[in-house]
Subunit: 339 residues, 2 copies
């Protein structure tokens, strides 16, 4: 049942005070080299571990950070987290992972919980599709560094690491055009979320640059909760059009998958008669018999950079670049390889 050993225990054994022990342990210069050595040795010998909770109370900040994502069972997010952890781990940070399941209420709850826990920083991939950002202002007001991951909101002085979603939408669409597709549909997410809006804009820009008129009948908005079914539904609707599309640029791999399944069910040949590209480079896009063209967002890299932005920020003096935008990469696979 080994009682926890505190600095008092060390102090008692050495006939000094806890203050001295604390100083010795914290590289405080106001201590003699000899006692420091002595303290360090006995601390190790007694297997002393600082009580982080006490530390957090004292300092008003803990050595943990929170990361809030819609869900962890997406390759993108789990790798984001992995990048974060790898970078933060050496600094002794504990990463608390929270999931919102894309519910705004959960996001608020999670923010509150993290603030309650006095985390040292919060990484957020925003879910709130409402305009209300009060909970985020609360983070700022609490003086807790906030960093947006991938999905961001428009807020002053908040760091962010994102990819250029406009560019991603653009190159995906351009690729489809290069394959000879002309009637390209877009399956997009909630347009109140910036990334989805940007992907849509990039798509439209590419159409425009190729003198293809955007037809709003070719836009379908899915919701994240039933992605695969969303894709199926989209295809079902799109094929009913008098002039159905010959390609789909989906802002989600899962939606793209659903679309492909529905197309195959209807014996539409992919990619010969219909091309489909996805988004996020989920592992299955590569596994599939019919591998799916998709956008790589370099999630591990993103996580690592976000961690660095955070570390920079708490080091203070951070008038440095704290809005990082990465370039997306299109992995071209069978689902769009017509030529």
């Amino acid at each position: 049942m080994s009682k926890k050993v505190t600095i008092y225990d060390i102090a008692k054994k050495l006939n000094i005070t806890a203050a001295s022990v604390s100083r010795a342990l914290n590289n405080n210069p106001r201590i003699s080299e000899s006692t420091r050595k002595l303290v360090l040795e006995t601390a190790a010998k007694m297997n002393y571990k600082p009580n982080k909770v006490a530390l957090a109370l004292r300092n008003g900040k803990s050595n943990s950070v929170g990361v809030i994502v819609p869900r962890v069972n997406r390759n993108f997010f789990s790798n984001l987290i992995r990048g974060l952890e790898e970078e933060l781990y050496p600094f002794g940070y504990q990463v608390i992972i929270c999931q919102t399941y894309d519910e705004g209420k959960r996001e608020i709850d999670n923010i509150n919980a993290l603030l309650d826990a006095h985390v040292g920083g919060i990484f957020l991939s925003i879910s709130s599709n409402t305009a209300n950002l009060d909970h985020l202002k609360r983070v700022i007001n609490s003086n807790v560094p906030l960093i947006f991951l991938d999905r961001k909101a428009d807020m002053q002085g908040v760091g962010s690491v994102t990819i250029n979603d406009h560019e991603a939408g653009y190159i995906s669409t351009q690729h489809l055009i290069d394959q000879g597709c002309r009637r390209i549909a877009h399956l997009g997410g909630d347009q109140r979320i910036e990334i989805y809006k940007d992907r849509f804009e990039g798509y439209k820009q590419a159409l425009h640059d190729n003198n293809i008129e955007f037809d709003k009948k070719y836009f379908y908005q899915f919701n994240r909760n039933n992605s695969i079914d969303g894709g199926k539904e989209a295809v079902t609707k799109l094929l009913k059009l008098s002039s159905p599309p010959d390609a789909i640029f989906s802002a989600s791999d899962f939606v793209a998958l659903g679309a492909i399944q529905e197309l195959q069910k209807r014996n539409v040949r992919i990619p010969e008669d219909f091309c489909v590209s996805g988004f996020s480079n989920e592992p299955f896009t590569k596994f599939m018999e019919l591998s799916i063209t998709s956008i790589d967002q370099f999630p591990i890299e993103m996580g690592k950079i976000a961690a660095k932005v955070f570390l920079e920020q708490i080091k203070g003096g951070h008038k440095k670049q704290n809005k990082v935008v990465l370039d997306p990469k299109l992995h071209i696979r069978k689902s769009t390889s017509k030529l």
Copy 2:
């Protein structure tokens, strides 16, 4: 910058002491109904939030629990976590997720970090393939409830929620036999981990019960880090045998996937000439063109039950059943549907 409001602020405003406020807030009977009401009202009005760090320091326990899994980007584990969260959320528990990436050292680090953070409980899907369980004993000695999730070790008085892996191995193998397969190979995990040993045993038992002799040439051990490649390698080796197998029971979906890819590359027809079954019911097993037969472990259910075991345990008086074993279910899909 809204200063945090404490019980002292409330006390001052009401001209009472912090102790009274505390009592009012905690349903302590030693307080008059009138003051309680007053305190509750002003607390709400002042937007008082208890400082959980202070609470944790005081009580030596926090309202957070930790869950340690090999990695979150596996359907099984992320759903396990989801089940945990759903059940624990209403009780105000914060779930701290840690990943070991199947490294024993990480597991120890994570345990230490969680103990440092004074979590109220730890859910562990064990990674340590060493016999050394000192870090787990430390958990017990710290009086922190420990509950094994899926992968357990043999420890006294530790709760666990698992599936019957022996049974899972058995029914998977029996199914292959029922399909007419006779030379069934098994791709298994680290045999020092109980679940993998059990699956292997179940497999052997099924063979035995069908009068098929186990041939150890048909056993291949993969390591978790390069699962898909492991499957490919296994097939490459197995097909070189003088009498190659006609089926594979894999203890991992990813390994099964690799195996299938390699088989297809070699133009082996599945399921006609070769059946493959996997384990864990990863989403892609269903998505695939050639859907993969797999074992469902009901991870959400498992997480929920684990949460309940935990809640029961901290409620005390827990001489209740704290080792729960769930029954696995085999989803039969194309990869084994010969008949």
